[in-house]
């Protein structure tokens, strides 16, 4: 399964990243790339619970392929959302269920962000994504 272009780019950037500081800077930069959500999109219906920060996730299927948008008030989390979306952009529902996102974050050197410690909430985002794709 070949990676989307943005995902290849993320991999290239993060994989050779030497330390936490550099990684944080990269996450902040990637966070800037997230297409902003407007006020009506940042609503309760799109809210992902189980994060200490506020997170919103929207998914849409066009021609059998999923396109997600996401936002958060926390900047590092925005970066994580960006590299997540880069990986799943344009996948079919089947591909979405199959993709190993733990492995994806591991390859980026970001495994710790998936810890079961609830406060960060990335896990809740992944789960919501799967639920949307399962319904859709």
């Amino acid at each position: 399964m070949s990676l989307p272009a943005a995902a290849r780019e993320a991999l290239a950037a993060f994989a050779q990243c030497p330390g936490w500081e550099q990684r944080a800077r990269l996450l902040l930069q990637w966070g800037e790339r997230l297409e902003p959500l407007d006020d009506t999109e940042r609503c309760e219906a799109h809210r992902v619970h189980g994060c200490e920060s506020q997170v919103w996730l929207l998914g849409e299927r066009r021609d059998g392929r999923w396109h997600f948008r996401a936002g958060s008030d926390a900047r590092l989390l925005r970066g994580l959302l960006a590299v997540l979306l880069a990986r799943v952009e344009g996948l079919t529902a089947e591909e979405l269920q199959a993709v190993d996102l733990a492995d994806w974050f591991a390859r980026l050197g970001l495994s710790r962000q998936l810890s079961p410690s609830r406060s960060n909430g990335l896990n809740a985002v992944l789960q919501r994504m799967r639920e949307l794709a399962a319904q859709g």
């Binding site: 619970h49 189980g50 710790r112 810890s115 079961p116 410690s117 609830r118 406060s119 960060n120």
Partner: protein, 401 residues
């Protein structure tokens, strides 16, 4: 026929018992812990304690991973589908109380709860009190001559008004495996929820909960070679969904405001407040330890010891077993001798067995006994323990008769 236990040296308590001339034959009350459990407990505290599920920092993540890892080990031990089916409690007793409160909303006056005549108080009183709160009928399934729940009678008694069946897997007094499969089939056929008290059963043999097909299963870590203060409630996902939240606080909350709140689903939604983190991690180590043993060798050792126990007891004049136990323990009385006198004289000789009603007062009353003695075994027990017990029993009886 000295039947040494190849695992005895893994349990540091026996060195201490040896120094104090104590013979421990009360494992059904609580089991000794392998060194691996002590190491895990110490490793956790000395490595830096942290609260779970609350913080992004490294000690907090480490504690959370270890705690959730323990949950996964419990799930694997029971062959549960998923770790989210495992709720940590203080013990079997709390698990059963959680169920009796969490399911309360499902009962309407006049409906029935079925328990058996041999239940431990922990699997009787929560249901009895629920019945009193809600105006329900508590059915007490009678026993047959062997000491098992009478299936014929159960079939007659358990009817369409029966909403729940709560029974033990292995009796803590009679030492008999109960006919769970038939009972659970019956409950399912009648549309009743089922609860299995595995406090004793979980310790002898390993059970596949997907095959057992009960809705809920409970047990305590401290009887399964783990630390005290920790218990397990296993539930099928559809059964867990029917539980109302019971205790409230800390991290079981999804969203809270002053006047209303929303709660997480199981398992976290049922673990209000800081849990017994160290105990959970150490219980994970107990399961790792057990996992590393040859289960068949353990079962064979326990069976041989148990046979030796029964044979030895039979050699005493006037000694009567309360039932013919299948495994793990033997309860008995001696004609003309009070169980309290016997247990006191055994204690004087350093033999630790349990006397009395074994938290099953109604069963003892039904058997017409003021109490009984119980000898119970663990995988670390060995033939010499039994020899010391037999000698002490002999001596005590000589004094008393």
């Amino acid at each position: 026929m000295s039947l040494p236990s190849p695992w005895r040296a893994d349990f540091p308590a026996f060195a201490a018992f040896g120094r104090d001339c104590q013979t421990y034959l009360d494992s059904a009350a609580t089991a000794q812990k392998p060194q691996a459990v002590l190491d895990a407990l110490l490793g956790y505290y000395a490595g830096g304690a942290a609260n779970v599920h609350r913080a992004q920092h490294t000690p907090g993540e480490r504690a959370t991973l270890a705690f959730e890892g323990a949950r996964a080990k419990v799930a694997a031990w029971l062959n549960a589908d998923s770790a989210s089916q495992i709720v940590f409690t203080r013990g079997a007793t709390e698990s059963l109380n959680l169920l009796a409160y969490g399911l309360e909303h499902l009962f309407a006056a006049g409906e029935q709860i079925a328990v058996s005549a041999l239940e431990h108080h922990a699997n009787l009183l929560p249901w009895q009190q629920l019945a009193q709160r809600r105006g329900l009928e508590l059915l007490v399934l009678p026993l047959d001559a062997a000491g098992d729940i009478d299936l014929k009678q159960a079939e007659r008694l358990i009817g369409p008004r029966t909403r729940l069946l709560a029974v033990s897997q292995l009796s803590n007094v009679l030492g008999r495996w109960q006919p769970l499969e038939a009972l659970l089939t019956l409950a399912r056929a009648r549309g009743a929820l089922s609860v299995v008290d595995g406090a004793q059963g979980a310790v002898h043999g390993r059970h596949d909960l997907q095959a057992l097909a009960c809705d809920f299963y409970v047990f305590s870590a401290h009887k399964l070679y783990g630390p005290d203060g920790l218990g397990v409630l296993y539930g099928r996902p559809q059964a867990l969904e029917r539980l109302r939240h019971w205790q409230f606080g800390g991290e079981m909350v999804q969203q809270a405001d002053y006047h209303e709140a929303h709660f997480r689903p199981a398992p976290l939604g049922f673990e209000a407040g800081t849990p017994a983190i160290g105990a959970a991690i150490a219980f994970g180590a107990a399961l790792d330890y057990l996992e590393g043993l040859d289960g068949e060798a353990v079962a064979a050792h326990e069976a041989a010891l148990h046979a030796r126990l029964l044979a030895g007891l039979r050699a005493f004049d006037g000694l009567h077993l309360l039932a013919e136990p299948h495994t793990a323990l033997a309860s008995f009385v001696v004609e003309g001798v009070h169980n309290a006198d016997l247990s006191q004289l055994l204690a004087e000789q350093g033999v630790a067995v349990r006397a009395g009603q074994h938290c099953a007062m109604p069963l003892l009353r039904r058997l017409g006994l003021p109490g009984a003695l119980r000898v119970s075994l663990g995988l670390y027990s060995e033939g010499d323990d039994l020899e010391r017990f037999f000698a002490a029993l002999h001596h005590a009886l000589a004094l008393l008769r």
